[in-house]
């Protein structure tokens, strides 16, 4: 019944790992050919694969794991998806119903364990409930503010003694769950009036634009009013970053001009971002002169961390449509923002060419220049997946994204190990597209067993390992806050990555100096159906800048090891 439902729901791939409590389901998968199962090497990877797929396509990722350790191994991936509002359905095997509560072999209360990190969860109580419950699970995971849903399936539910008729439920209705629709017209009108009057406005787009498939409308709004645009880390790609109106992304490691513009603005129009601490710095000092308009599908995101002047609960799409319609009707002239733009261009100019110091000939490379080279080598068109650390921030800063869904990173939870499996999930479903993983030697080692899965299914991702031989981001904080005491941030006994990768039958390359970089990248990207791992040695002492000063305002930033605002 589960497999038939998944096929009817249009699920092509599920990612998982078998075990006792899930064996009936595995047997059913084996006896059909519509739903393809991808066998990972660790359940966490299954969740990240499903997650990567969901981020790139907007469709829910589906995971199947067994009870107990299978389910607990999936927890990190569920939490990762939860924090970034990624639609996902996780099917967990469970011990037989009559054994529940008896500490049976491989029993864990996975509904309990995952309660704070799911949008909702279900336990199957009767075999005939399966289609309806699964339909609800998909409905909840994908509508409103998306998120992961766990379905706990006791083994006896998948091998009933009686036969039940299967009917695919076309519709769901739940009296206690109605996803948010259109925003309040009066509020939207107010927001539009503010935008027409503001002298120093800024548009701030978040991941909600990407998830809510409304980036085009967002771009129309920005262009129509000539307003400068910034995004959150999750909103990267919602507005073309090579466009003049883009200030890049904001926050802890965001661009100088974006953070300055936020701090000095008189109107922040935020759509689909949640003002988390990495984006706002100290909320008491946040945008002191600005009125704030906040559009979100989740009412609880509004007013949670910063005060909001015009709250609008609605889908980004419907609210943007209404804003554009109101602007279309309006007789007001488009506001003149030339002074504001002049100020912004000055901020920009003051940093141009000074973002980092290029390595001199023969010196070890800077990670930033490697990311720039990757951007050029892929014409800025690749799906870029990252792990977590300095390399993640460098990737976000130096790869310029012009399209949504192409920047795939664990923003909210910051999960090292996310990268490789997420990249695999993207590549498997978009075989024609270039998929690049930018990782660090620390993060990569958390999920490197998945090189085996790549070999089994022929998943030719390209891996750029920014190898600084250290847990760089940790080391940076230790340099800045712990008087350079590098407690446990040096990765000793690194493997020979080349040999390691080759042992799985993949291709590995190594780059030590800048003069080899472009040629090696070209070779790597020329290979279309081979996984290529490029181990790039980079400066272990480099820091990520700008970096907002803790407890400061948006504009309080360290700009290099010696400069600050």
């Amino acid at each position: 019944m589960i497999t038939r439902f998944l096929a009817d729901e249009g699920v092509e791939y599920i990612y998982g790992y078998p075990g006792g409590a899930a064996l009936h389901i595995y047997d059913a998968i084996h006896r059909q050919d519509k739903v393809h199962h991808v066998l990972v090497r660790h359940e966490q990877a299954a969740t990240h694969m499903a997650d990567g797929y969901a981020r790139a396509t907007g469709k829910p990722g589906v995971v199947l794991v067994t009870s107990g350790p299978g389910a607990t191994n999936a927890v990190t991936g569920i939490a990762t998806a939860y924090m970034d509002s990624i639609p996902m359905v996780v099917l967990c095997g469970q011990v037989m119903s009559h054994l529940i509560g008896e500490d049976a072999f491989q029993e864990t209360d996975i509904v309990g364990v995952t309660r704070p990190i799911v949008k909702h969860s279900f336990s199957i109580k009767h075999p005939s409930d399966i289609p309806q419950v699964l339909k609800k699970a998909f409905y909840i995971a994908t509508t409103g503010r998306p998120g992961p849903v766990v379905v706990d399936i006791p083994k006896d539910m998948t091998a009933p003694t009686e036969k039940y008729e299967y009917v695919y439920p076309k519709k769901v209705k739940m009296r206690s769950y109605t996803p948010v629709g259109r925003g309040h017209t009066g509020q939207i009108r107010k927001a539009v009036e503010l935008m027409q009057k503001a002298k120093r406005p800024i548009l701030f787009g978040g991941g909600g634009l990407v998830l809510g498939e409304s980036t085009e409308l967002f771009q129309q709004l920005a262009r129509k009013l000539n307003i400068p645009v910034t995004t959150s880390l999750m909103g990267i790609g919602a507005y073309p970053q090579t466009d003049r109106q883009s200030l890049g992304w904001l926050g802890m490691h965001g661009s100088f001009e974006a953070n300055q513009a936020m701090h000095n603005s008189d109107l922040v129009v935020c759509i689909g971002a949640r003002f988390d601490d990495r984006a706002t710095n100290n909320t008491a000092k946040f945008c002191p002169t600005a009125k704030i308009v906040h559009v979100d599908v989740d009412p609880s995101s509004i007013g949670k961390t910063v005060r909001v002047d015009v709250p609008i609960v609605g889908t980004a799409k419907s609210v943007l449509e209404e804003m554009l319609a109101l602007l279309g009707e309006s007789k007001e002239e488009t506001p003149d923002l030339s002074d504001w733009w002049k100020q912004i261009d000055d901020w920009r100019a003051s940093r141009t060419g000074r973002l980092y110091e290029q390595a001199k000939d023969g010196e070890v490379m800077k990670p930033q220049q490697v990311v720039e080279a990757v951007w050029k080598a892929t014409q800025g068109k690749a799906y870029v997946v990252t792990d977590v650390g300095q390399h993640q921030m460098f990737a976000a800063q130096y790869y310029k994204f012009d399209k949504p869904n192409h920047w795939i990173t664990s923003g909210g939870l910051g999960t090292m190990g996310f990268g490789l499996p997420a990249a695999m999930g993207v590549k498997l479903n978009k075989p024609q597209e270039e998929v690049v993983l930018i990782t660090g030697e620390g993060s990569f080692q958390m999920m490197m067993q998945e090189l085996s899965t790549c070999a089994q299914y022929g998943i030719p991702v390209k891996i750029i390992n920014l190898n600084n031989q250290s847990l760089g981001m940790v080391r940076q904080w230790q340099d800045l806050n712990y008087n350079k005491r590098h407690a446990q941030s040096y990765v000793q006994s690194l493997p020979d990555f080349q040999k390691l990768v080759e042992s799985y039958g993949h291709v590995a390359m190594k780059v030590d100096t800048a003069d080899e970089l472009d040629a090696t990248l070209e070779k790597a990207f020329a290979s279309k159906d081979q996984l290529v791992f490029v181990d790039v040695y980079v400066d272990p002492h480099e820091h990520v800048y700008p970096m907002q000063v803790p407890q400061g305002s948006m504009r309080d930033m360290l700009l290099s090891k010696t400069e600050r605002t």
Binding site: Y177, D298, S300
Partner: protein
């Protein structure tokens, strides 16, 4: 400020743990909590009293509303409402104390519902303040055991919390 939030939710396994979990997960405070099925067997009604400033209370109601099991809720303290809590107390009652305890109970309009030669068991309903005052009046050296149900509430007048 103290708020009484009354919640209609699906009468399903796991619903209560989601509500309680939410409070600990988000560092919200629970002063009292009670829950029971309603006249509609598919719904339960949960009442929670909590304290917090406006921002915290707004988050509490929004986060509760976000739970899939929650059908509807109301912050009773936003309008005119009636609040009731019940208390059962076991009290030492020997010699002169017997008359004294009986009189205090009558003043508070409580009832003595069980008697032994040395003990009264008392039942009392009212708002939380009244129950506090009663316990104070009895004094700690006569009090052997107290059970309170936690606050329930309902809006005054026409307002109804239902589907």
């Amino acid at each position: 400020m103290r708020h009484i939030i009354s919640v209609l939710m699906e009468n399903e396994a796991g619903a209560l743990s989601r509500v309680v979990g939410l409070f600990s997960q988000r560092n919200f405070n629970i002063e009292t909590l009670n829950v029971a099925p309603t006249d509609d067997p598919t719904l339960s009604r949960l009442t929670v009293t909590t304290v917090g400033d406006d921002r915290v209370i707004e988050q509490i109601t929004k986060q509760l509303n976000k739970l899939i099991d929650v059908v509807k809720l109301v912050d009773l303290t936003e309008g005119q409402h009636i609040e009731r809590e019940m208390l059962l107390a076991k009290v030492k009652a020997v010699g002169a104390q017997r008359a004294e305890v009986k009189r205090t109970t009558e003043i508070f309009r409580g009832q003595i519902i069980d008697v032994t030669p040395s003990i009264y068991t008392i039942q009392l309903a009212g708002d939380a303040e009244k129950l506090d005052a009663f316990i104070n009046a009895l004094g700690s050296n006569t009090l052997l055991e107290v059970v309170r149900t936690g606050v329930s509430g309902i809006a005054r007048g026409e307002k109804v919390l239902s589907l």
